[in-house]
Amino acid sequence: MLIRFFTDLRAGGVPVTLPEFLALLEALEARVAALSAEEFYYLARLAMVKDERHFDRFDRVFAQTFEGAEKLFEKLTAELPPEWLKQLTERLLSEEEKRKVEALGGWDKLIETLRQRLREQKERHEGGNKWVGTAGTSPFGNQGFNPEGVRMGQAASRHRRAVKVWDAREYRNFDDGIELGTRNLKMGLRRLRRFAREGAEEELDLDGTIDATARNAGLLDIKLQPERRNAVKLLLLLDVGGSMDPHIKVCEELFSAARAEFKHLEYFYFHNFPYERVWKDNRRRASVVTDTWSLLRTFNPDYRVVFVGDATMSPYEIEQPGGSVEHWNEESGRVWMTRFTRHFPRLVWLNPETEDRWEWTPSVAITRELVGGRMFPLTLDGLDRAMRELRQRGGQTGGLHSPHADSPDHPVDVS
């Protein structure tokens, strides 16, 4: 009986191994569980399921094996009439649990809502629009582990893909959900890795120790140094809205890849061109904004700055005070951009428009001139070139160095 349960579990997609099964037998032998089905269920789950994502699969197999409902499981993976499900779960649930379900509006309604929710979830995911990223939790989140877990299981087989996404949402960090396909971008960004020694000193500095000891006439003088870590700091400024709409996907991918790659990543949004304010949350950009001056004060010049925008607009939006399409700007975009390039020696502009179109738009030419020619297309090759540019120590203007520039431990490139 138990061995069949074990093989069924494996067939049902619960990754259980022999030692775990033996652990269950051992536990049974040690009389951990009293002789009740419920305790046995808890014990079996405890010993054999190691991930809450597998709970509902386990529940299904458990029901199948111990309620004598032969072969029900295989049918579960096919289309499943709700009555069967109801039958199955009624058999599985205790009276108390049934009452709870009843209180939630009954089975039919729950299942219907769940299905609907799943459909929604799938569509939203495929649509890939931003909102999902921030709102990826579902009110159904916990149901998978409720007594009604079976219900989730059923839906899981019908909408396998959608549920997988859902599971991932529930238990991983969902902000960077569009990571698929960003691998190439990550590889590109990787060029920017720079390892530096920062933070607590906890590694023996061999050379330093020998040197200091020698100077100490042989009396040992231990020198420590911090561990090497990727210390690149990145400030990402993204254009949103208007002409950028067709490029949303690639920008999201870039953002998500950068999120994964850099520990020190800060981002802000702007519209068309940076003026006196930028913001972090597009939904609330009218109320919560960051003063660009304070941004320039907050981030010191060793941040590398990446603008992402198509730079396609009327030239007045750059050249004229008050030229912004959204508000009255006291100072022109040109002034603000110059402030940026002065403050941040390492700065590039990534343009999602293809390179051959740039010359047709005057504003692109102006922007390009403003950033000192450091505009690159948002392609893998362009990214590569941009990262090369950012890697150079002083940047083009060459004036400002990072505070550590003269110390021997200044970021060493090892890529």
Binding site: V32, E39, A135, N142, Y171, R172
Partner: protein, 284 residues
């Protein structure tokens, strides 16, 4: 055998499946891996077990820089070297420079101890793999002194994880696993009762209703958890808020009083306000 059964304590409400998990781990001497939403009392569980079973508690809090051998021992070669230069007497015995970690201390304990390995997912991906043998055989070898350290009594090991990283299969195989589910209303009521025995029934009911209401708001970034509910109730008591103030039918008030204890970022507060507003309009 009876005193080794864990049934919760007067300050900790354990559900039947949790009790089963703890008891199985105690009896079979296997590590118990605990996951669950933040604020469901994962870390607290170890302390409660230690208290209920009257065992010493050893804690090992994992940080992103933690290495597996920190839990076993560290050989302080540097200070030995320095001592040798200064001609200290104790330099001749290497044992003076071996600093025991919490795992070692737990292994040496005279009675079966409880060992908490807190937030194992904070450490490097390889971290759990480096502990496999130690957790399996409950022994490890000290290279410097050529000593084999064996646990006198297999400690009750509790490991908590917040799911920040996937744990390796080989590690999971050696553990029992329990997921602390978010408590349902009835359990929650018990939990609140344990912490606030004098709370008026009416206030409790209203507080729980609005709490679960907040939790059900779709799209919250951070759902309020048990510990936040307890904080909130503490606040309500301190401010002496009457139960009526919590009732949702007051049209002037959009969100629960003192919501700062429940909703921890402004996006959530904002979202919640919007939803309540929409619901109200729809309700008319």
């Amino acid at each position: 055998m009876n005193e080794t059964r864990f049934t919760g304590t007067e300050s900790y409400v354990a559900t039947p499946d949790l009790m089963m998990a703890v008891n199985a781990a105690v009896i079979l001497g296997r590590p118990l891996l605990i996951k669950g939403e933040p604020g469901t009392g994962k870390t607290q569980l170890a302390a409660e077990i230690a208290r209920a079973l009257q065992r010493p508690l050893h804690e090992w809090h994992i940080k992103s820089t933690s290495k597996a051998h920190h839990g076993l021992y560290e050989y302080d070669a540097v200070s030995r070297l320095r001592d040798s230069q200064l001609g200290e007497e104790k330099v001749h015995d290497i044992r003076n420079y071996i600093v025991k970690g919490s795992l070692w201390e737990a292994f040496e304990s005279d009675v079966q101890p409880v060992l908490l390995i807190d937030e194992i997912d904070k450490a490097d991906i390889e971290f759990p793999n480096d502990l496999l043998r130690e957790l399996d055989r409950m022994e490890f070898f000290v290279n410097e002194t050529r000593e084999l350290i064996k646990a006198r009594h297999r400690p009750i090991i509790l490991i908590t994880s917040n799911n920040e990283k996937e744990l390796p299969d080989a590690f999971l195989r050696r553990c029992f696993f329990h997921y602390i589910r978010f408590p349902d209303a009835a359990t929650m009521e018990k939990i609140v009762r344990v912490h606030f025995p004098d709370l008026k029934a009416e206030l409790l009911r209203e507080a729980l209703t609005s709490f679960f209401g907040v939790r059900e708001t779709p799209g919250l970034r951070k759902k309020p958890s048990t510990s936040e509910l307890l904080d909130w109730i503490k606040l309500l008591l301190a401010e002496d808020i009457p139960p009526e103030a919590l009732r949702g039918d007051d049209p002037k008030k959009l969100i629960p009083v003192l919501h700062g204890a429940l909703l921890k970022n402004e996006q959530d507060v904002h979202l919640f306000e919007q939803l309540v507003f929409l619901n109200r309009r729809a309700g008319r």
